[in-house]
Amino acid sequence: MSTDGSLLLEEHDFADPEALSQRLLAAGLHLDPYEIRLARERFGRPLRWAEIVCLDILWSEHCSYKSTRPLLGRLPTEAPQVILGPGEDAGVVTLGEHEGKRYAAVIGHESHNHPSQVVPYEGAATGVGGIVRDVACMGAHVVGTLDGLRFGTGERKGGARTREIVREVVAGIADYGNALGVPNLGGDVVFDGGFDANCLVNVVCVGVVEADKIVRSRVPGPGDWAFVLAGKPTDASGFGGASFASTVLSDEESERRGAVQLADPFLLRVLTVANEALLDRARREGWPIACKDLGAGGIACATVELADSGGVGVDIMLDQAHRARDPLPPWVLLCSETQERYCWIVPWEVREQAVAVFNETYQLADLYPGAGASVIGRSRADGTYRVTWGDEVLVECPASLLTEGIRCPRASVRRPARTSNGHHAASAPVTRPMPELILEALADPALASRAFLFERYDPDVQGNTVVRRGDADAAVLAPVAGARWGLAVALGGNPWYGLADARLAAAHAVCEAARNVIAVGAQPWCLTDCLNFGSALDPLVMGDFESAIDGLGEAARALGTEGFEAPLPFVSGNVSLYNQDESGNAIPPSPIVACLGRVEDLARVITPGLKRAKHVLVYVGPPRGDLAGSHHARFAGLGALAHGVPALDLAAERARQRAVLSWIVRGWAEAAHDVGEGGLVVAAMEMAFASADGLGLVIEWPAFAADAGNETAAWWSEEPGFLLEVAPARLPDLLRDGLARDVGAIPIGQVSAENLFRARQPGHEDWQLELAAAHGAWRDGLAQAWELSEEPIGARP
């Protein structure tokens, strides 16, 4: 097998697709016999080696979504606020106007699961870098990132290895974001044995751009265009990364460290400064311009997509690309996923001026040997994608042939949902006093404060932060200084629900993300998703995937966009398949959803911290009694209940969300918190912990209990709901409006000046807990995920 990129494989090579597929696999390329036959047919001739390498990447699951594209088409993507939906590097929605300028928000969602399992630090760091460049290449100023993390516990792979992955992934995200000067806006972290062999690192990025200055990732149209490569010199790092992310991580495969890219936030920071200078120059001089980041598939993927979506072809002179000194086979140069690179499209006649921004004005080569910009291609009218190395032709075919992608409909078998979300679950035997249960639960890494993790991330750089990650259910930014409006963003997604019912789990993820932005006073404005599942070749996995798509669609349509006859739109997203262990056991189905919210008036934003004694604690939600899928059910080993999913009445959820948002925006609530993992007792405690003045709570639990005889189920059930702090003077308005909306809002307690949590029943005290002790347990609980220990994370004492 020749490694000369230009060699035209012989006709006989294609006579036996099975054999050729095996030979390609030995070279690390993953085209199966069906795909080889299809390629030969489409090309109408034997393919060149470099063309095969391109297809290996462009037809990978990661780039082509070949197993899932038709299913993704079922998600709602249209709504008045959507400027650019799925299709470009990131989604764009309207945001607000200030001083005569109209602004839009840009949001993207990516996963870097496989690389993070192999080389956690670089895998996580390049995950952040990739999604940041996806947003930046739309001409947007990047204003923040979030990270959704799922780690194992170490039951199977050992506590030490799992903790090393935790430490390295978090350090990779921190070092990258902090150096780049992009604030962290939150995220979530879950520890479950299902992720022992395959962690999840999902990253979300938010940017802001003036609506009339959006840069598209396609050649602006017919004309004479230069393709300018800018950034790090191309090297062999990350070669085959995309196809690596689309396969099973077998043990020896995890030795393929070469496939993991190398991050450099310092270079990207300088490149961002230079990019902004080029963009300013282009806007001043009126140059039409386009841009795309180089991610999966490197130069090949970016340049063919830029050309084809602009309706033109391109001549790529690969030998012009600035690159690392050590010689590389041209087809590695063409497809390697070296980080921190963009491809700019500028009119051919100003190409030297564009290159000068990087090489002379900002002298990138002085800061990183070999870095800079080079003209690597020139558009051609006939739609042909042609790559040469000197006088050798590496690739020559219609651009659409490569971008057309491939469809692989997969067998899909739906599992019967095995939820046991009966409203009145069997009354759990109350074996231990509540204070004792609470202290243990708060110290459990599943429920403990996330401060030990996110205090390693900078939440304030750029000075736009109004509510920080960790201070509320969502972060809030004022991205345009002086403007009244702002944006909020948060994640949602519970992996334990996925095992029981992928459809209901996905619907819960959408509702949880939306509740999180509502709790700070923002209107849910758009959604992104990252669908992390097992192998596409497993019908049960594809059945779960299809169920999740149904759940996402149902919830997004049910919640809708308030004020319009439109769904809550999905504007971008990502699919990550082949997340499983070496023996093929898939990870728990993990749909992770991000919701971007729009804040009409930043002055109205609120947080969970209790504000004043004698205020009323109001619960908004269904009577609580269903322990299905709750942390308590897992923690107390309640069998089937532990693997259930709480019921979700989408119509009631919609009414509840809109009511709570209205009350917050009208200033009727002083504090608000989403009731989620850990149930009402943990949510209420967190409101007390966040109080600036050490306030406490007195709560009568029968007021919100579905079954007055089952205190445990009332406190610990995780059915969706909200807790609000309401001034007594505002309570009548709120309760009356609740009745009018048919939304149950029940006073259940009062804020007290004592730093104490007291539970009561009508007429007598039940139990109480010192908040100082509880706060300590909660604050330090997550540290055990960093300790040097072989014990599984979250193991019972």
């Binding site: 150096a179 936030p265 310092f266 400064v273 900078d458 109004v466 600036a692």
Partner: protein
């Protein structure tokens, strides 16, 4: 003509934009000077601001390479003639590496350094809000504060621990009153902190003192008080909107009241005083934002 302040953009800094906003709000005219500009470009400026970030990728040590940039020679020369110089976070590290702070009478360096944070049970980078106490001193950048005032600011760094070489004595920095900002316990100046004793041992426990800085120092200046190296970020607390809603103390209370009373979130925050002090020192009388 508004006084002009150069914002030195070494490669890898990332707080230029918000630092420039803070200078403009105080009635000054900031101008970003990229690292590729000639040092002569600095002549026209009335003051210098070294912003936060990771200049030169923290290669060798944080601030070590930027401290040898041609800009710093000009800054050193102008600072010796009284021109105000404000170094924030990475900028503070550059000033300490360059010996501009704490310096001594004859300008030779006292061997101070910004060492890695020392914290119980963890190491490395830490980002959280802290409370600073303003000390009585001739510092150019504290005139808009009252001595003893508590100023909440966010800190975010990995090497922010002010120390001196063991062969030297932290007491000389204290005796010449070069610590205008000190980490303090809490929202209100709980216990008297005047006459901070001469030992270097930090008096405030973690997390009040987030990095075990000698003397709980958050900011150290030169003898004359026109060059300040401050680790926390005042530009990230320049307006009320940036103050955490659940922060303890008077500023937290003011932020909470703003939610209902409708006071503009864009009025001055706790960090604005540093930029207003600079403006006052440069002769600006009608600052754009009332303090």
């Amino acid at each position: 003509m508004k006084p002009r302040v150069a914002v030195l953009q070494f490669p890898g800094v990332n707080c230029e934009a918000e630092s420039e906003r803070a200078l403009s709000s105080a009635g000054l005219a900031p101008e970003r000077v990229p690292w590729t500009a000639p040092a002569a470009a600095l002549e026209k400026f009335d003051a210098f601001l070294l912003p936060g970030g990771f200049s030169y990728q923290d290669r060798v040590r944080a601030g070590a390479i930027a401290a040898r940039h041609a800009f710093v020679d000009t800054v050193r020369e102008r600072a010796a003639r009284g021109v105000p110089v404000l170094g924030l976070c990475n900028g503070a590290q550059v000033l300490v590496e360059a010996g501009l702070v704490p310096a001594t009478r004859a300008g030779e360096n006292l061997g101070a350094a910004l060492a890695p944070n020392r914290m119980p049970g963890r190491s490395g980078y830490l980002a959280r809000w802290v409370f600073l106490r303003v000390e009585e001193s001739p510092c150019v950048f504290t005139q808009a504060y009252a001595p003893g005032e508590i100023v909440p600011l966010p800190m975010a760094h990995g090497e922010g621990r002010f120390v001196v070489h063991p062969s030297q004595d932290w007491s000389e920095i204290e005796s010449t009153r070069r610590v205008p900002f000190r980490y303090d316990a809490g929202a209100e100046a709980s216990q008297a902190n005047q006459g901070h004793d001469r030992t270097s041992e930090p008096r405030m426990p973690f997390p009040s003192n987030p990095n075990a800085s000698f003397g709980d120092a958050a900011g150290v200046m030169n003898a004359r008080g026109n060059v300040l190296a401050l680790m926390p970020h005042p530009e990230r607390a320049q307006s009320l909107a940036q103050v955490p809603l659940d922060l303890a103390g008077a500023w937290g209370e003011r932020r909470r009241r703003a939610r209902l009373a409708g006071e503009s979130l864009w009025s001055a925050g706790p960090g604005a005083g540093i930029f207003l002090s600079l403006a006052y020192a440069l002769g600006v009388r009608e600052a754009a934002v009332a303090r």
